[in-house]
Symmetry: C2
Subunit: 213 residues, 2 copies
């Protein structure tokens, strides 16, 4: 058996040091940098730093929203499961509507996926919310349609749907026109719930750092 | 707003068709191929097909274990959240011990991470189990140490820890010496809970297909 590092603090330190040593981070605003480091840490891929699209104020806006008590609206259970509750600055609600009993019928009625239909149930809480999409392109597309139809704006949209149908396209649509919200998104096919959760956790940590200053 | 595909069945079909069109799958045994397709589907990365290590019987062994009622032991909540319960052929238990109240103290006593300490609680259920590691390299290392110390064998180890410290090394150790278990692992830094869950879901689907034959 080969030797390995067991000390949690040492593992964190070495992980983040590796990310900072290998990644090109100089293009990011100061508040975004720790978010990018956490995103890379979550997926093991240094090169995603070059594929992130974002609005300049996204990290700060998201942190402030969480500090003010905004809910986190997630497109799937995995994103919710990856959010570290003790990091959240205001015991923020983490909301996953995908398995609400009404969603399956609504998806049929709307002629779309369950993930997209579940977004309908965000209406009451969308204003100022932190939205974390880590799985379904159709959830992100559906949200953008709702914003076009006049929904109030979330504070920040974390766009990390993954896969071969609609993922790259939905994130390109978000980056081209974020409809008045701030946003962070990974361009292309890659993404996933671990990255969406990591983005929320990074915003939460940013909010806590801010509060300590 | 650009047009996009909304029909769930059409999205699945086009996704899997894209994977099959782009990926090199010919080196895989027949039972492994759908597992590889689901792994790629979960992460959006065609090229992981070339970085998978596995024992030839892993997919069949894992499917048989699930059909026989084996529990699924996961290293974190996100892996558990990603397992589609209705696919499991025997209402199999999905076990996550990471947040057991005893784990934090045990981690301190053992001088290791909580993820590694949580593996200690698998002892009673490890024999014949399906193990899914989607986050922590130390959980995989700790399991291998326990197997070296004489624990009964799990049927299959799904090795997808992710990151910059120990992920590549723990999976290399597993692939070099799987200690009598079957295994599937993604070499290198990449991995994650979505891939670990996808592997379990694929084994479950394989078990169901087998039952229908």
């Amino acid at each position: 058996m080969r030797p390995y590092l067991r000390d949690p603090a040492a593992i964190y330190d070495e992980s983040f040091a590796t990310v900072r040593r290998e990644a090109r981070l100089d293009r990011f605003p100061a508040a975004m940098e720790p978010v990018v480091v956490r995103l890379i840490h979550a997926c093991g891929m240094i090169e995603i730093a070059d594929r992130l699209a974002f609005s300049p104020a996204a990290a700060e806006t998201g942190g402030l929203a969480l500090a003010a008590g905004a809910p986190v609206l997630c497109d799937c259970e995995m994103v919710g499961a990856g959010i570290t509750r003790r990091l959240l600055p205001a015991e923020n609600d983490v909301v996953v509507t995908l398995n609400d009993p009404s969603v399956a019928d609504m998806a049929k009625d709307l002629g779309t996926t369950r993930s997209a239909a579940a977004v309908e149930l965000w209406e009451d809480r969308i204003e100022g919310a932190v939205v974390a999409v880590g799985n379904a392109p159709t959830a992100l597309f559906h949200l953008l349609e709702k914003l076009d139809a006049g929904w109030p704006r979330p504070s920040v949209i974390l766009g990390f749907p993954v896969g071969f149908v609609g993922a790259a396209e939905s994130k390109a649509e978000l980056a081209a026109n974020p409809r008045g919200s701030d946003f962070i998104a990974l361009k292309g096919r890659r993404g996933g719930s671990a990255m969406a959760s990591a983005a929320v956790n990074a915003l939460a940590l940013g909010a806590s750092r801010k509060a300590l200053q």
